[in-house]
């Protein structure tokens, strides 16, 4: 399974993830009150692929994860998980129309994740996940953590506790097997020496590995990793790459990961989906995404401080702001008197105050008079996703302007 083979169209019908998707996310929208975190997002996760979901901070990646794993109920959209192979279009239609949560057909099964409670997604649809902030059972040993992950098969083996209380042989056998499986995964993540140590005592990198091992103990078909390389040193990152490739190649588990470490993403991903402001801006293999000008412009290596060093981006945004700004400036008298301290508006820092100043925005009155279009332009310029509206800069500016007693603000 070389990367070249992955990016080749399979049988001339588009890339592999469109032909044999294990997970399809269709028109996913997630709103929190007025905030649209994910907007009409569609993408596929190929069976047996490592798929990376990347994007700047606040792009909505973790929200997508939480929708897929059932921790959030999406506002709109369909998330279909497929066991077996192929598109199984007929089954998907039947489940959707029939109002079921899942349905097995002769060649596989289809699960509509947006209809299932979180624990069922792991138990039935076989989607496991890890967390951005590690969530281990800190007071339980490494071995116990891995045994908890095998709760459901063990529960059945223990006859829902009754057979277990009396120590029937069937349960003992299942218990031994579960320990064998835990030992296998402890060996894979190099934690076998620490099997009887509490998970909370492990170093950070080991905790990350343990969380992956724990997720794998649920026998997932799709493994969702939320920033698995965060906080790892380069050697640990390299080991993580090996582990993920091992999981994909040996266990055939598909992997969906969120990652900021581009070294990890570009090296191991078969398929990369780029999000920005809750919208997909690019979708393809690593090479394609790397060369996509939209990705370069919107994401890679660009941040608040560096924006001025990227003339093409700054120019576009500045143009947009300028186009809107004259209207604003016309509505209010031109900056009267001394400029205000814009940082008094909650949400504006010194950097942004300076940037606004470069476009002639120096007083509260000017901001107070912003229209919706101005806000949109300013957001594009400052790279703030809905923050101006959310933090109500205009309202704040109005209050401050009124307090200062300058400008006739409506």
């Amino acid at each position: 399974m070389s990367e070249a083979a992955m990016s080749e169209p399979v049988a001339g019908a588009g890339p592999r993830w469109d032909v044999d998707p294990i997970l399809t996310v269709e028109h996913l929208t997630m709103r929190f009150g007025g905030l649209v975190a994910v907007n009409d997002l569609s993408f596929n996760v190929g069976r047996g692929d490592i798929t990376a979901l990347i994007g700047p901070n606040g792009a909505g990646k973790t929200t997508v994860f939480n929708c897929v794993t059932g921790f959030y109920k999406p506002t709109e959209g369909r998330i279909a998980m497929r066991h077996g192979g192929g598109q199984q279009e007929a089954t998907v239609q039947a489940v959707t129309a029939g109002g079921h949560r899942y349905q097995a057909a002769n060649d596989g099964a289809v699960f509509l994740l947006e209809r299932m409670p979180d624990f069922e997604i792991s138990k039935k649809a076989k989607v496991a996940r890890t967390f951005q902030n590690i969530r281990l059972f800190g007071g339980m040993t490494v071995l116990e953590n891995l045994l908890v992950a095998q709760h459901n098969p063990l529960m059945i083996a223990s006859g829902f506790t009754l057979a277990g209380i009396f120590g029937l042989p069937g349960y003992r056998k299942a218990q031994r097997e579960s320990i064998d499986k835990a030992v296998y995964w402890m060996e894979q993540v190099k934690l076998i020496e620490r099997a009887d140590d509490p998970a909370g005592d492990l170093p950070y990198g080991a905790q990350r590995r343990l969380e992956i091992a724990r997720a794998m103990c649920t026998d997932p078909k799709l493994l969702c990793l939320d920033e698995p390389a965060a906080g790892l040193n380069p050697r640990e990152s390299a080991e993580l790459n090996q582990l993920l490739k091992f999981i994909r190649d040996t266990h055939g588990t598909s992997v969906l990961l969120i990652e900021h470490d581009m070294g990890v993403v570009m090296e191991i991903s078969d398929h990369v989906v780029v999000l920005d402001y809750g919208v997909k801006i690019s979708d393809g293999d690593a090479g394609f995404v790397k060369a996509d000008p939209k990705v370069i412009a919107a994401y890679l290596g660009v941040d608040d401080e560096e924006i001025e060093e990227r003339p093409e981006v700054a120019a576009i945004a500045a143009e947009a702001l300028e186009a809107a700004a004259p209207a604003a400036e016309a509505a209010v008298a031109p900056p009267a008197g001394a400029p205000d301290d814009l940082t008094r508006i909650k949400g504006i820092g010194p950097v942004n105050a300076r940037k606004l100043g470069e476009h002639g925005v120096t007083t509260f009155a000017q901001i107070a008079a912003w229209t919706a279009a101005d806000i949109a332009a300013a957001e594009a310029y400052l790279e703030f996703d809905g923050r101006i509206a959310r933090e109500d800069w205009v309202g704040q500016a109005r209050g401050l302007a009124a307090a200062a007693g300058k400008g006739d603000v409506k």
């Binding site: 902030n133 099997a195 649920t218």
Partner: protein
């Protein structure tokens, strides 16, 4: 979740401020001052502060007392007692400064010790009337020397422990494993022959002591039952007494309405009914977390009691239900005459037999509770409870149905409460809502928390200390030999409160704080309390 910060492992959090100072003190490091020197001024100042506080507190508690006199209460004053209290605190604090808080040189320690002993002797000789003065001086010297000796031993132990690695949180068990096992077996043996020990060694008070043993055992069982909910599943339940009440009333009502129902038939029924009520309580609290969970369980406990109080036609209201049958031994009743237990076995009839039998019933019930709990801990359901206590969200991501898991914890905990309740009914022969007030819940919870949440042996120790201790404090008459004119029995709640405060200060996570892993690959290691989560509502 997206907004959550990255968790910092506990091992990387460094304590600050007062906590740091305390840690330092624990580790035996000098908080201030050069080693070897002893700052008398600082010590005197802190002793003065302590004495001032003692004076303020003791002003009303010790300085004044209300006595019954013809025509009502009169206020009498005990200024000497107040002065004694202040002096004791002052010189005692000085002693602590020299021995415990600082590694003072031997000369300073000697001065503090001698002064303290002299003060105690002086107090005994001067202020306490009664027996011969020479005797009182002797008693004072012995008491003073005893305190100094205890402090000396503690100081030595601390300086020894200083060199040992104190920060190690994972202890290898083997060193004490055999000791713990031996202690368990000895405890079990003592529990098994306890009634005979009592009848042999305390024939005069056998009834009283066996009753006390039964009471303690009942609380052990209740503690073990609640431990499932609070200690393992981490759900703070302030209304556990409700299930105790359900068990007791189930048996009481069944026995009054159906003649054929005796204790042994009612026992499983009471357990089942209590478990059912556990489920009923479980449903509304499933969505609640933290303090809200505690409040709703508290309310549930009160609802049950108030219904029992007011549903007069059904429960007989505040009058309670009497005439609850006593348990039989395979159909043999504990009565005088033919057909009774004593007659059948050809032994002389004694009323104590019935109490011994009750003791064995509750012992067996408690051991069953313990056995089942220990077993459940090693089963997937028990591990899921503990995982739930550690992190509920992670549990759900692993496919654990947290709703069902919480419900089973509530139901099984309630079932044992119901068993204990029906035992309570048969032992008393009478139930009324008065027995099921909130204070009972609080005592049971205190036993669990004091023992160390999740620890089985901790519950036993805490029950003996809390239930047995408070009863024993009633029998402090012998202290009057030493302190004539002082009735220590009146101070028993004060002593009890002080003991609780002391435990809170030194053992905030309970007496047994380590957690035993439920599965072991190679070597069993105990897990320190700082790693174990406490669950909801703590």
């Amino acid at each position: 979740m997206a907004a959550d910060n990255v968790a910092v492992p506990a091992s990387e959090i460094n304590p600050v401020g007062a906590q740091a100072e305390r840690e330092q003190r624990k580790a035996g490091l000098e908080p201030a001052g050069p080693a070897g020197a002893f700052d008398w001024m600082a010590a005197l100042r802190s002793a003065g502060q302590a004495a001032f506080l003692a004076g303020v507190l003791a002003f009303f508690f010790i300085g004044m007392s209300t006595d019954i006199a013809p025509g009502g209460l009169v206020l009498s004053y005990r200024w000497l007692g107040l002065v004694y209290a202040i002096a004791l605190v002052f010189f005692g604090r000085l002693l602590l400064e020299a021995f415990i808080f600082h590694a003072a040189p031997a000369s300073a320690r000697a001065i503090a010790a001698v002064v303290f002993i002299l003060v105690v002797i002086g107090m005994m000789a001067y202020g306490v009337p009664g027996s011969r003065q020479a005797n009182r001086i002797l008693v004072g010297a012995v008491l003073g020397a005893l305190v100094v000796a205890v402090l000396y031993v503690v100081a030595r132990w601390r300086s020894g422990a200083r060199t040992a690695a104190r920060t190690k949180r994972v202890e290898a068990a083997p060193r004490f494993a055999w000791l713990a096992r031996a202690a368990t077996i000895v405890l079990l043996l003592v529990a098994a022959v306890l009634p005979f020990l009592i009848t042999t060694f305390f024939p005069a008070q056998q009834r009283q002591y066996i009753d006390l043993a039964i009471l303690i055992m009942t609380y052990v069982m209740l503690g073990w039952g609640l431990n499932i909910v609070v200690g393992l599943a981490g759900l703070l339940d302030l209304g556990y007494v409700a299930f105790y009440a359900v068990g007791a009333y189930s048996f009481a009502l069944l026995s009054t309405h159906f003649d054929f129902i005796g204790f042994w038939v009612a026992l499983p029924l009471a357990g089942m009914l209590a478990a059912m009520w556990g489920l009923i309580l479980g449903f509304p609290v499933l969505r609640l977390r933290g303090d809200y969970l505690a409040i709703v369980t508290l309310a549930f406990g009160e609802i049950i009691r108030i219904v029992l109080l007011n549903w007069y036609q059904f429960t007989n209201g505040p009058n309670g239900i009497s005439g609850i049958p006593k348990p039989t031994f395979f159909g043999l009743e504990f009565v005088r005459g033919s057909g009774g237990f004593a007659d059948f076995f050809g032994i002389e009839y004694s009323t104590i037999h019935r109490f011994m039998y009750l003791y064995y019933i509750i012992l067996i019930l408690a051991l069953v509770t313990n056995f089942v709990t220990m077993r459940l801990r090693r089963l997937p359901i028990g591990r899921a409870w503990e995982a739930l206590r550690e992190d509920e969200i992670a549990c759900r991501s692993l496919g654990i149905n947290t709703t069902n898991t919480k419900l089973t914890a509530f139901a099984i905990g309630a079932m044992f409460g119901g068993f204990a309740g029906s035992f309570f009914a048969t032992r008393q022969g009478f139930v009324s809502p008065e027995s099921f007030t909130f204070i009972e819940s609080a005592i049971i919870l205190a036993i669990v928390v004091l023992g160390g949440m999740g620890s089985q042996i901790g519950v036993v120790i805490a029950s003996v200390v809390m239930i047995g201790g408070i009863e024993m404090l009633r029998n402090l008459d012998f202290l009057q030999e030493i302190f004539p004119g002082v009735d220590p029995v009146q101070y028993r709640m004060l002593i009890f409160g002080l003991a609780m405060v002391a435990i809170m200060v030194w053992k905030p996570r309970g007496l047994i704080t380590t957690r035993e892993p439920s599965a072991v690959l190679k070597e069993k290691k105990k897990i320190g309390a700082d790693l174990v989560a406490q669950g909801e509502g703590h």
